[in-house]
């Protein structure tokens, strides 16, 4: 008896190993699809609550402060240095093409269309998706979600809706501020270190920047805000038990939000690029 199982294991081990790899990949793919499916359902349910009363305005204001106002310093600093570095890189590249206007134009377009919203999205994902995930997961494991229900309050309306509205509205504002500070960073480096004429630099920036550039960047930021809040709420609401569940909800929120932001950014860039 013992001999036969040993034999079986020996015979199986080789093919099992090679079959295990596609099996793991397949299982992962299925899990990701199921995950995205339930996130989409979660988002649809939440959107249904956005339009139906009661509305929790105090919670909305609190969420706007938490997500928007307190993110300003970190978004501003990041954008400043990103714009400054961008100016140096473009100078290095455009020197080879001897193009005078490249730095102001590409800094402006690069910040407004791409770096502003994406950097802002990733930073807010790190700061806010994690805290939303942790907060809601903690509320879940300490019975606060059930307590809300016993106090005749719908958790989705009270916790999820304010965060989704706040993040979606506030992210374009943050990205706009990031755009301006990033362009300022490029301006400071270009005029201070690279010898650009300040008046000409501003002139080029304003002349070549189009409304559609700005709008496409702000639309991206709004979508990122929606992604961040939905992901944070989803992982918080579906957390496991105890401190471990809270921890996992926190890290999963940041990881999933960041990946989705980069993916959505590419999809939207394709879309705006074509039109």
């Amino acid at each position: 008896m013992k001999g036969s199982t040993e034999l079986a294991r020996h015979q199986l081990s080789e093919p099992v190993f090679w079959l295990a790899f596609p099996a793991v990949v397949g299982r992962l793919a299925i899990r990701i699809c199921v995950g995205i499916g339930s996130i989409v359902l979660f988002a649809i349910d939440a959107l249904g609550h956005v339009v139906r009363p009661p509305f929790h305005l105090r919670e909305l204001w609190q969420a706007i402060l938490n997500i928007g106002f307190y993110s300003l310093p970190i978004v501003g600093l990041t954008a400043l240095f990103a714009g400054a570095a961008l100016a140096l890189q473009i100078q290095a590249g455009s020197a080879r093409l001897s193009s005078e206007t490249a730095v102001p134009v590409i800094v402006a377009i690069g910040m407004v269309r791409e770096l502003g919203p994406v950097l802002c999205g990733l930073i807010v994902a790190g700061r806010v998706a994690s805290s939303i995930g942790a907060e809601i997961a903690t509320m879940k494991v300490t019975d606060q979600i059930d307590a809300l229900r016993t106090l005749s309050t719908h958790p989705t309306k009270f916790l999820v809706v304010p965060r989704i509205i706040a993040a979606t509205v506030v992210m374009p504002v943050l990205a706009g501020v990031g755009d301006i500070i990033g362009i300022l960073g490029g301006f400071l480096v270009s005029t201070g270190r690279l010898g650009y004429n300040p008046d000409l630099y501003v002139d080029f920036t304003v002349r070549f920047l189009e409304t559609s550039d700005v709008v496409s960047g702000l639309v991206k930021a709004a979508v990122f805000g929606f992604i961040i809040s939905v992901i944070g709420c989803y992982f918080g609401a579906n957390s496991g038990q105890g401190a471990k569940g809270v921890g996992r909800a926190t890290t999963n929120s940041v990881a999933a939000a960041s990946v989705l932001i980069i993916a959505a950014n590419y999809a939207m860039t394709e879309l705006f690029f074509r039109s």
Binding site: D143, Q144, D146, A147, T150, L151, T153
Partner: protein
């Protein structure tokens, strides 16, 4: 002519809470295997049983927080569900850890339901009611502007009790009200519950494994074991009944039919 109301008036002999053959399993774990019990209006009912026997699961079914597999659950004759907590009855619940909202002050917690929803009152009135309720549970009104994290465990539980009674509900639920408290604070909470449940016809439903709670405030008791009610009766029968399961639980011995 009578105007129809959302919750039909309960006939005096109809139970406030009624479970019939309630079953509920989690994957690979049949927790409840046919639980039947009735709680009459104004009664202080205690559901006792060992840890992990499914007391909290029963409570969650009565509130409608989780779906069950089979049987009937009625609160005031209505079926509880997520969209109709406790079948729409006016309830208050004290959670095991208090479950205070930690992003809000004690006042905002206690007044949560007072300042929201159809029957809301002004902020000043809410403060007055909150102060009265805090006093009722033995807390000073001056802690109103503290956050839950600034309170001790016993005070958090009292604040949770103040929140539960803020709107003078018809049914009060207590999940292990004394767990995690020292005997003196536990006795204090037990006395509070005893007083509050007796007031103005409030019905009490407590789940606990603490016999001192049962002896302080329960009028009816049911013992849950292996997913079924193995004994139920009046609190006065606790020491006279010769049910071997009950004897073992009451005396707290390791040997007996309860494993």
């Amino acid at each position: 002519m009578k105007v129809s109301v959302a919750t039909p008036p309960v006939a005096p002999d109809e139970p406030v809470i009624e479970l019939r053959e309630l079953t509920k399993s989690f994957p690979g774990n049949p927790v409840l295997r046919g639980v039947s019990l009735e709680v009459a209006k104004g009664e202080s009912f205690a559901l006792i049983g060992g840890s992990g026997t499914g007391k909290s699961v029963i409570l969650k079914c009565i509130l409608g927080l989780i779906p069950w597999d089979g049987g009937i659950v009625r609160v005031n004759g209505n079926k509880p569900s997520l969209s109709s907590i406790a079948g729409g009855a006016r309830i208050g619940m004290l959670f095991q850890g208090g479950a205070l909202f930690d992003s809000m002050t004690v006042f905002q917690n206690v007044a949560f339901q007072l300042v929201r929803g159809p029957g809301r009152v002004s902020a000043a009135e809410a403060r007055e009611i909150a102060a009265r309720k805090l006093e009722r549970v033995g807390l000073e009104a001056k802690i109103m502007d503290l956050y839950p994290s600034e309170l001790s465990g016993g005070m958090q539980k009292r604040a949770g009790l103040a929140r539960a009674i803020a709107t003078d509900p018809d049914i009060l639920f207590f999940d292990e009200p004394t767990t995690g408290l020292d005997p003196i604070r536990a006795a204090g909470i037990n006395r509070l519950i005893s007083g509050i449940v007796g007031e103005s016809g409030t019905t009490g439903f407590t789940i606990t494994h603490d016999m001192s709670s049962v002896r302080t405030f329960a009028s009816k008791v049911a013992l849950l074991h292996s997913g079924q009610i193995v004994w139920n009766g009046a609190a006065s029968e606790l020491d006279t009944s010769d049910n071997s399961s009950l004897r073992q639980f009451v005396e707290g011995s390791a040997r007996g039919p309860l494993t």
